[in-house]
Symmetry: C2
Subunit: 218 residues, 2 copies
Amino acid sequence: MTFEQSFPIWSRLTQQERDAFTQAAVPRKAPKGTLLHNGAADCVGLILVCSGQLRAYILSGEGKEITIYRLFERDMCLFSASCMMSSVQFEVTLEVEKDADLWLLPADVYKSVMEQSAAVANYTNELMASRFSEVMWLIEQVMWKRFDQRLAGFLLEESVLDGSDVLKLTHDKIAAHLGTAREVVTRMLRYFQSEGMVTLSRGSIRLTDRARLKSLSA
Amino acid sequence: MTFEQSFPIWSRLTQQERDAFTQAAVPRKAPKGTLLHNGAADCVGLILVCSGQLRAYILSGEGKEITIYRLFERDMCLFSASCMMSSVQFEVTLEVEKDADLWLLPADVYKSVMEQSAAVANYTNELMASRFSEVMWLIEQVMWKRFDQRLAGFLLEESVLDGSDVLKLTHDKIAAHLGTAREVVTRMLRYFQSEGMVTLSRGSIRLTDRARLKSLSA
């Protein structure tokens, strides 16, 4: 995918802005497992996803994780360029979940265009608002949903993302997504298994009663 | 405070934008307890705080609350005008905590200026980023702090906001701020009392060992 094809509001840029972006943008292939952006440690710039899947998460002081959102084809990540905005006072880590083709756009180039362009600034606003909405959804989940409901919802979502009923996920990985301890995940999965909703085997989970998982998560 | 004095980036507006805002802005006095904005039910417009204190919170389906941030003098609330941005997919309720003088600016007026003005759009970005940062802080608190630490931090913060060691707060109200049940608050406050950190009496809490509360919250 060319930069032009992946940048969401290309048609609203001036020729000068288009030139600034295309000259500065760098393509990058990132295999599964790559850490693209590591909290405040760096400011790699904006990331545009051409293909693949990224996971944005936060880390506690003790190394615990929780997934805050995912990025897919045509998504753009602002927070890998958080140095661009002084009011962004938090750190997000970005990891490649499925082999990805990306464009990297240096933060200073994007920032200097955004400062002059109402179209780019407004687009950035909408982007931030939609990430904000995902985080507010997460707060509601964490505050007000029981863990079995969250786990059922997570398994169904993963199954849609992978297009499969068999999830290759360790209990550790699920715990990191949901911000809990591995033991809690294991205990709940065993309960799901005893109720016939999943079948567990080494390194994978088969969803065997989607209808029931769905009604549980709702 | 005139609208001009309360609007943060007045100097960066064109004369036409200034006129649009001053013609549309409406002053409002809102006594303590007023509900200014009730989730998706209305879109009152942007709120500029001249004086007083507001609380933004979210509500669960069962009526549970958690405070997500506070607004003080010269703060502006975007989410009372959430109809302005299609990507804002969550609902915030806004309540006056201390008698407030406000300016209300209709969402459509702000939006039409923001669409044309890079300065206003960039300011809106920074505003959203700073609220976003507060919500990310909240997630970290909720996920990774013990309740005694959160409660100690909350009591100290309230004491600073009120300029007093005696807090006029019911256990119910504290529970709503922190997103938990009243019983949990009562139990923890009694423990704090047994440790000499607070003294409880009907409808109020006196902080008696700030140093210890501080080290607990840190």
